[in-house]
Amino acid sequence: MRIERRAHRPLALVLLAPLIAIVAALAISGVLIAIAGAPVLEAFRLIVTGAFGTRLGFTETLTRATPLMLTGLAAAVAFRARVWNIGAEGQFYLGAIAVAAVCATVFSGWPPYLLIPAALMVGAIAGMIMLLVPLGMRLRFGIDEVVTSLLLNFVVVLFVSMMIEGPLKDPLAFGWPQSIPVGPDAMLPKLIDRTRLHIGLLIAVAIAVLVYFLQARSVFGMQSRAVGLNPTAAVFAGVPLAKTLIKVACLSGGLAGLAGAIEVMGVKGYVTTDLSPGYGYSGIIVAMLANLHPLGVIVAALFTATMFVGADSMGRALGIPSYIADVTVALSLLTMLVSIFFTQYRIRR
């Protein structure tokens, strides 16, 4: 039995791969649910109704999907060009804390139509800087950005922790470690009243479409793909390697920073160290499930959010740990990697 590279990658197979991966991940989680002593099919039904069955569940799923779309895009854009950005979590937090730092101080008193775009921009720039550091170290010293971008996540979270215990601490929070609020003028308008759903969702979807267009049609998109697929040939063709990678890093880091900014300004209004339940890391899974396709990221983010929200309510109803959501999402990454492999190779005897 041998494994052989496919000459063509059939489109149907590429589209089917994530579905197969998700079904496989759900099947394996089903075994775990059964071991936990709950009825498997009932559990899956509860996950779906939990995520979509009620107005609250439905809007909550979309709210959760918003940052995942942005961090998923951040990973997809970077991975396409073989920039291994594992630091979206740190970029997310730096974007968030930057927004908290400027909204009530530098930008205070600005009208919302100026304040909101300016604050989002600040968040994106903070995220950019956070990825330019590891990329710069790769370009200058050849240090692998997988390690540096990953480790910087912990540095940033500790930095945020320091800020919200120190200079940016909210004096009115009864001693809770949280940042000063961004203020009502900086809050993103709600999409549906009396829910947490805000216009960040529309921004994320619009950006996904924009990124798709950029990758498919622009010079930058073609060059970044060339750099990712074969850097030597790209350089021979005159593609400026460092410049292209820096642009990719700005886009990727910027998207992750924007995710943090939108989460603060859309949902909480202030920063805590549990602002993100791992959105930066889940973004990697979202990107892989989407096969790095920007429009696929929208769907993959919805799936991931469904699992998180649905498993929460399923866990409450059946009395099993909601960690099953983390397990399922993590498993779907593994099954997706296997699926991707089989879109490229076939088994032959």
């Binding site: 052989e4 000459a7 063509h8 049609r217 622009s218 010079v219 930058f220 998109g221 073609m222 060059q223 793909r225 060339a226 697929l229 074969n230 030597t232 040939a233 790209a234 350089v235 021979f236 063709a237 005159g238 593609v239 032959r348």
Partner: protein
């Protein structure tokens, strides 16, 4: 064949997917015989030898050594039966000595003390017997490529090989080294060893072999004694039709387009001088690894010179870039198609325009219509087969990939064409096509800088020839004076320092 065959392949068949690599091939090898296996890329030579050596299991057929059948798919059994293989890409450890390399794999892992003394004596006696001089204590990494190949051969002989298989043995050698190798092969055959060497070069087959088996499309198409055939006949048998490489007519050199004066690139090129004239081809011949890559990159705009002067159309270029070179009208064919020339996973149209995206974009957006049209023109004009503008470039064969690369450069009639190893690894038909294109461009007034390791190619295409050795360029010799012997001397670095090459006849 009068004697009992020492090796007999019977009805060897092997398929990969839908392609039949070997189709019922039967070959005998007599003791003391030198057999050449001649065929183009993809004819099935390497597959056949891999089956013989036990790397692959055949679908059908048997391998017999001295009348005893070898178990399929067992390299160790092949080695024990006395089959030795010298690969095109050496399997030597650079940081070990010659003796250590030769001994590797011959002793049990659990043996506490290795018997270096006995091994050294055996190695030296083999070396003596076949005239393969080596220092057993030299580090392999310090040896020249020719010497490394000698170590590979010694390694096989050390394992008591009586049948030696050499896969494209001359691909990495200079002419002189190749002649030495053939002399060694003769000695080995006379002392009773049987040899098979794989090649697609007609000259060396005629020079070194007793008998030739021609493979085409996985089948044995002919078997000839070298005394009873000719290069022309073998070429036709190998390709399956008459293929004539185009012949160069006299050049009408125009003005100097590109000129290097005492130019350095770091330590990789030192004080080189050359000029490329319109309507003329300058050939740079040399053994791989002597600075050709850097020279190619210099004129392609990838590296900068650190001293001396590079003049393009009479104007000094201080800093170059890929875009500046392309805009100035330099067409660039890189030495490694797959690594530098194309991006296999991108579409053909993308590879056609990637290096000149500024011509095919507006406001930062790629003009895909124009790009596809350009790719279509190349596909039609340069006979690129096996793909449409939207198909993945990986699916093209080497020859068609090279036509695509030539096409994207020649479509816009460049003033200078830099062609580095333009036919490396191509088969005879594709070589003829590439040569025709290069000669056409030259006739149209393009100045061609041809960097090649292939002596025949340089002699047939170039008007003037310079040799590159250790980052230095010899003075040019006119093609009329250049023969294999003179070029061989030049490639070995043997040229007088006063700038004149003595006529070597």
């Amino acid at each position: 064949m009068t004697a009992v065959p020492v090796l007999r392949l019977t009805g060897i068949t092997k398929t990969f997917g839908t392609t039949i690599a070997n189709d019922a091939i039967s070959i005998d090898l007599a003791p003391g015989e030198v057999l050449a296996l001649l065929g183009e890329n993809g004819a099935g030579k390497t597959t056949l030898m891999s089956i013989l050596f036990g790397h692959y299991t055949p679908d059908a057929g048997t391998v017999e050594v001295d009348g005893v059948q070898l178990p399929p798919g067992k390299p160790r059994a092949a080695i024990r039966a006395g089959v030795g293989m010298v690969h095109q890409h050496f399997s030597l450890a650079d940081n070990l000595t010659v003796l250590e390399n030769v001994m590797t794999g011959t002793e049990s892992l659990w043996q506490l003390k290795s018997s270096t003394g006995a091994a050294r004596a055996k190695l030296l006696s083999i070396a003596e017997r076949f005239g393969l001089k080596v220092d057993p204590d030299a580090r392999v990494g310090d040896l020249s490529v020719g010497e490394q190949q000698r170590v590979e051969i010694l390694k096989a002989l050390y394992n008591d090989a009586r049948i030696l298989i050499l896969d494209e043995p001359t691909a990495v050698l200079t002419n002189i080294e190749a002649e030495t190798l053939f002399a060694t092969l003769r000695v080995m055959a006379q002392s009773g060893l049987s040899l098979i060497f794989i090649s697609h070069k007609l000259n060396e087959v005629m020079a070194a072999a007793d008998r030739v088996v021609v493979l085409r499309g996985g089948k044995v198409v002919a078997e000839r004694l070298t005394g009873a055939t000719s290069k022309a006949e073998l070429a036709e048998l190998m390709v399956g039709r008459r293929v004539a490489r185009p012949v160069r007519e006299a050049a009408v050199p125009g003005p100097v387009l590109l000129q290097a004066s005492n130019l350095d690139v770091g330590r990789r090129l030192s004080s080189i001088n050359f000029e490329v004239r319109a309507g003329e081809t300058l050939g740079i011949i040399g053994v791989s690894g002597n600075g050709q890559t850097t020279l190619g990159h210099l004129v392609s705009g990838l590296v900068q010179h650190s001293a001396g002067e590079l003049q393009l159309f009479g104007e000094a270029m201080d800093r170059t870039s890929v875009r500046a070179m392309i805009e100035a009208g330099i067409g660039r064919v890189p030495e490694d198609r797959n690594a530098e020339g194309v991006i296999g996973d991108m579409a053909i149209w993308e590879n056609a325009v990637l290096e000149r995206l500024w011509q095919f974009s507006r406001n930062g957006l790629v003009d895909r219509g124009a790009a596809r049209a350009f790719a279509g023109e190349i596909i039609d004009g340069f006979d690129v087969r096996g793909g449409a503008p939207d198909s993945r470039t990986r699916l093209l064969s080497g020859g068609n990939m090279q036509k695509l690369i030539l096409g994207r450069n020649l479509q816009n009639r460049p003033r200078i064409l830099v062609a580095a190893q333009p036919t490396r690894g191509l088969d005879e038909g594709a070589i003829a096509a590439v040569h025709t294109r290069i000669l056409d461009a030259r006739r149209a007034g393009t100045g061609v800088l041809l960097i090649s390791e292939d002596l025949d190619e340089v002699i047939s295409l170039a008007d003037r020839i310079q040799a590159i050795v250790k980052g230095r360029l010899s003075p040019p010799v006119p093609a009329e004076q250049a023969d294999a012997r003179l070029l061989g001397l030049m490639m070995a670095g043997d040229w007088p320092q006063d700038g004149k090459i003595a006529h070597a006849h």
